[in-house]
């Protein structure tokens, strides 16, 4: 058998190389007295062709282009940068004036575990006042995650949203298949379970940006969350795995006062190739309806982007901290705890693999350009959740590492494909949008 295969290979190689020679014709030097052979195609040698009868030569994918182009006809006005962002919903279909309605279509996720879906977004500016507009959003995903919202936006300063934005929004969202592994840094991955969450609420937020570096704001949010059985048939229900031990299982209602501040320098908000970004959020969550779930929440996110001689190679650093401080005799609902794992931090662990009252984590990424619209990155993450200061120990720190490629336009990264490795598993992840 081996001999037959080796002979076939030998024969194939010889025939292939002779074919290579047969195809070729040495191109001689052209002089007036030495004419090379005639290479012009004699059209009579070709079989007569009638329209549409003969096959194409070496164009196996042409049909694909023709079909896809028909579907993409409406995007013809833009180049790839704009087009891809249109497809991914990062920008409106076209510029338009202040009075023109705009819609956005987006493919992506509504949350980390939602699966892929489609989102429609319609912005309807007031025909009378360019400082007022209405925004309607609806998204549904392959795992039946639903997200809908209506927002009324206004700029009381009359500067067409350049500096100030007042928004009043209503939302309704469902998360049918959320994972949960338990509370604390020592949760067991064998306790992976599934729960469903519903969230509805109304919020009023005033945000202002006094300069291009600074922005700040505050607002009020009234919300209600309820928990149910997870719809993932492959996993047990969270409520069965942790019977009677999880806070907030019966649902919660909150009135939240929030304040936030952000400082950005360089390209931190766009291409993230240089500069720094610091964000701080403060939320006072007051439980309504009598449940003992009131707490203060502090979130800090600091990022730095250091070009290594050129902006085509950068070192990206991130420090993330999430602290929750329950009021006396109160607890934080399990689905509002600080969490680590997923596609953003501690990549290599499952989503919400670790949940705890507080979390602290850091990331280091080396990113470099492979081509104009293609990049690569390697990363290392470390972090842990903890409920008390005693648990915050170096030995309890969890680490992951990995790498991948990212597709980007000049303005933004729109797709990342990467693998993350932890002590528990290696996970392959596809993420729309940029990393941190």
């Amino acid at each position: 058998m081996y001999r037959i295969i080796s002979r076939l290979l030998l024969a194939f190689t010889l025939v292939a190389s002779s074919a290579a020679f047969c195809d070729s014709n040495e191109s001689p030097e052209i002089t007036q007295d030495k004419l090379p052979h005639q290479r012009i195609v004699d059209r009579s040698q070709f079989p007569p062709r009638t329209g549409g009868m003969s096959g194409t030569l070496r164009a196996p994918f042409r049909w694909l282009g023709e079909k896809s182009e028909a579907g993409m006809a409406s995007f013809e006005e833009h180049r790839i940068r704009e087009r891809i962002s249109v497809i991914l919903g990062e920008s409106s279909l076209s510029g338009g004036g202040a009075y023109s309605p705009r819609y956005k279509l987006a493919f992506g996720k509504t949350s980390e575990q939602s699966g892929f879906g489609i989102k429609g977004n319609l912005i309807s500016p007031s025909t009378l006042n360019p400082n007022v507009k209405m925004q309607t959003t609806a998204a549904i995903t392959t795992k039946n995650y639903l997200s809908t919202g209506v927002a009324f936006l206004a700029d009381p300063t009359g500067q067409q949203f350049r500096r100030v934005e007042l928004s009043i929004t209503g939302r309704y969202r469902t998360f049918p298949e959320e994972d949960f592994f338990g509370i604390g840094p020592f949760s067991d991955r064998r306790n992976r379970s599934s729960f469903a969450l519903q969230d509805r609420g109304v919020a009023a937020i005033l945000a202002f940006s006094p300069s291009s570096h600074w922005s700040a704001g505050g607002g009020i949010d009234a919300s209600s969350q309820s928990v149910g059985n997870g719809h993932n048939d492959d996993l047990p229900n969270t409520l069965q795995i942790f019977p009677g031990t999880l806070p907030g299982v019966g649902g919660v209602q909150y009135l939240t006062l929030l304040a936030f501040m952000q400082f950005a320098r360089g390209d931190a908000l766009t291409t993230a190739r240089s500069g720094a970004l610091a964000k701080a959020d403060l939320r006072w969550n007051r439980s309504l309806g009598g449940g003992p779930f009131s707490y203060m929440q502090y979130d800090i996110d600091v990022r730095g982007y250091i070009p290594l001689a050129t902006k085509r190679r950068i070192l990206a650093l991130r420090l993330l901290a999430n602290f929750n401080a329950p009021e006396q005799g109160n607890v934080v609902p399990f689905f509002r705890l600080a969490e680590l794992g997923g596609g953003e931090i501690l990549r290599g662990y499952n989503v919400r693999r670790f949940s705890g009252q507080n979390a602290i984590a850091g990331s280091v990424e080396y990113r470099w350009d492979l081509a104009e619209y293609l990049g690569a990155f390697v990363f290392g993450d470390a972090g842990q959740v903890y409920d008390s200061w005693e648990q915050l120990q170096f030995g309890n720190l969890r680490g992951t590492c990995g790498g991948g490629i990212e597709f980007k336009s000049k303005k933004q990264t729109f797709l990342r494909i990467f693998a993350g490795r932890s002590g528990e598993a290696t996970r392959l992840m596809v993420r729309l949008g940029r990393g941190f």
Partner: protein, 455 residues
């Protein structure tokens, strides 16, 4: 018994080798020299039934060139074998003096007999642009990235008007006209492009004029729509507008041509496009003028009626992304050096972690003149020049194809180049001088790269 088996096996090998040699010899005999008179016309203008129009889009060009083509070529074993043995597949439409005969694709012009400066200036034009008088706006422009609209002049001729970006006045329109003149003189079919100036009050909107709104719906064109377009474009100091006027091609548009295979519904199209020298050699011409945006979407097959026959004529279109222009901005530094997503270069960068950067990245050319964009002859190497997307015909370029193209490029005198640049109507004489000099230097670089000391 054992010896007998060994003998038989050896005999089998010998026979196999002999068969291969025989095939080789037969192929050689088929290609053996047969002196003939050179043919100068490849008659592909036979009457054909009307082909279907087909769409061509950026997404197809990007996806096909970037992913399918580069990956397919990486696994093309016979192609690699030919490359290793230095026996590339030569072009098919070549006559006995190694030239390309005239066809619906290409007409020998300056390469065969030198055109006068006046002929270069006229190029493909039959008129000097839109006729004076009122211009009727008949519809908005929905194709491409530059703002514009279609007009009908007092003669009844239809033109598309395209404008320069505000930050780079004169850039795209000058690049388009200069490249039109050069490509026509080389031998390609191109539209009649002219620099055209008008005032806002010269325009009147036709009662049937339409434009697409933000939701891509067709609607009646209003004066506000027109003013909206004009607000986005550069205005001259005297308040007038400078535009590129591109005359509507005669015939019926049937979509762009591909750079490989043949068009199924065109019986005249029998030579695989990747084996057409006029398309392979276009890579050299494109490198000369940095026509980086060559792709299916920037070509057009027109179904024309001439001398009682109806057939397809193949055009190159849209030269706004040539010279230093990228239509809506100056060239990015990678233009001409890398494909937009160059998997070969990406592989190198991947394994070196991006440590080694080419000099054109670390020291990009500056934009010297806003009317030209980013462009020069510095670091220009026609052998390694790359367009935005890989094209099969370009990848098949052989030394013979390159020499053919280089001979044509080298046929352009300094005066002819200056004449083409003159048609760009650059207001800054220094910019025009610079452009002429750089074109001349790039011509010389092409000559040195492919013709060496021959010429």
């Amino acid at each position: 018994m054992q010896d007998n088996r060994h003998f038989r096996r050896r005999l089998q090998y010998v026979l196999l080798v002999l068969i291969c040699i025989a095939c080789f010899d037969v192929a050689g005999q088929q290609a053996s020299p047969k002196p003939q008179e050179p043919l100068w016309i490849d008659f592909d203008l036979e009457n054909i039934p009307e082909p279907k129009a087909r769409a061509a889009g950026y997404i197809y060009d990007f996806a096909y060139g970037t992913f399918f083509l580069q990956i397919r070529e990486a696994f093309d074993v016979p192609r690699h074998a030919r490359q290793i043995t230095h026996h590339p597949k030569e072009a098919l439409n070549v006559n006995s003096v190694d030239e390309v005969p005239n066809s619906s694709w290409f007409v020998n012009r300056n390469g065969r007999s030198r055109m006068t400066v006046e002929e270069i200036r006229w190029g493909p034009n039959q008129t000097s642009g839109p006729a004076p008088g009122k211009l009727k706006v008949i519809r908005g422009k929905n194709e491409g990235i530059s703002p514009g609209f279609w007009i009908k002049d007092s003669r009844g001729d239809i033109y598309i008007l395209k404008f320069d970006p505000k930050n780079y006045p004169e850039m795209a329109s000058a690049a388009e006209v200069i490249s039109t003149k050069l490509l026509f003189a080389i031998g390609y079919n191109v539209p009649q492009n002219t620099i055209f100036r008008f005032r806002s009050e010269d325009l009147e909107i036709d009662a049937k004029a339409t434009v697409r709104d933000q939701l891509n719906r067709k609607k009646k064109m209003e004066r506000t729509d027109l003013d909206g377009i004009l607000d986005k474009v550069a205005r001259q100091s005297d308040g007038s507008f400078r535009a590129l006027a591109s005359k509507l091609l005669s015939g019926k548009p049937k979509g762009g041509f591909h750079f490989e295979g043949v068009r199924k519904d065109d019986p005249n199209d029998i030579i695989p496009h990747e084996d057409r020298r006029d398309l392979r050699g276009l890579r050299v011409f494109a490198s000369w003028i940095d026509h980086n945006d060559l792709r299916v979407g920037n070509t057009l097959d027109m179904y024309v009626a001439e001398n009682g026959r109806k057939f397809l004529r193949h055009y190159l279109l849209d030269f706004g992304s040539t010279l230093g222009s990228e239509t809506d901005q100056a060239n990015e530094s990678f233009v001409g050096h890398e494909h937009q997503m160059d998997l070969g270069e990406a592989r190198k960068q991947l394994v070196t972690f991006g440590i080694k950067q080419p000099s054109w990245r670390s020291h990009p050319e500056p934009v010297r003149y806003s009317s030209i964009g980013r462009w020069s002859a510095n670091g220009f190497d026609p052998r390694t020049w790359k367009q935005n997307f890989p094209l099969t015909a370009f990848d098949n370029l052989t030394d013979s194809d390159a020499r053919w193209a280089a001979r044509i490029v080298n046929s352009f005198s300094d005066e002819q180049i200056a004449a083409a640049v003159f048609c760009g109507e650059l207001s800054d004489p220094e910019a025009a001088k610079y452009l002429t000099r750089e074109l001349t230097l790039r011509r010389n670089a092409i000559r040195d790269a492919f013709l060496g000391s021959q010429e």
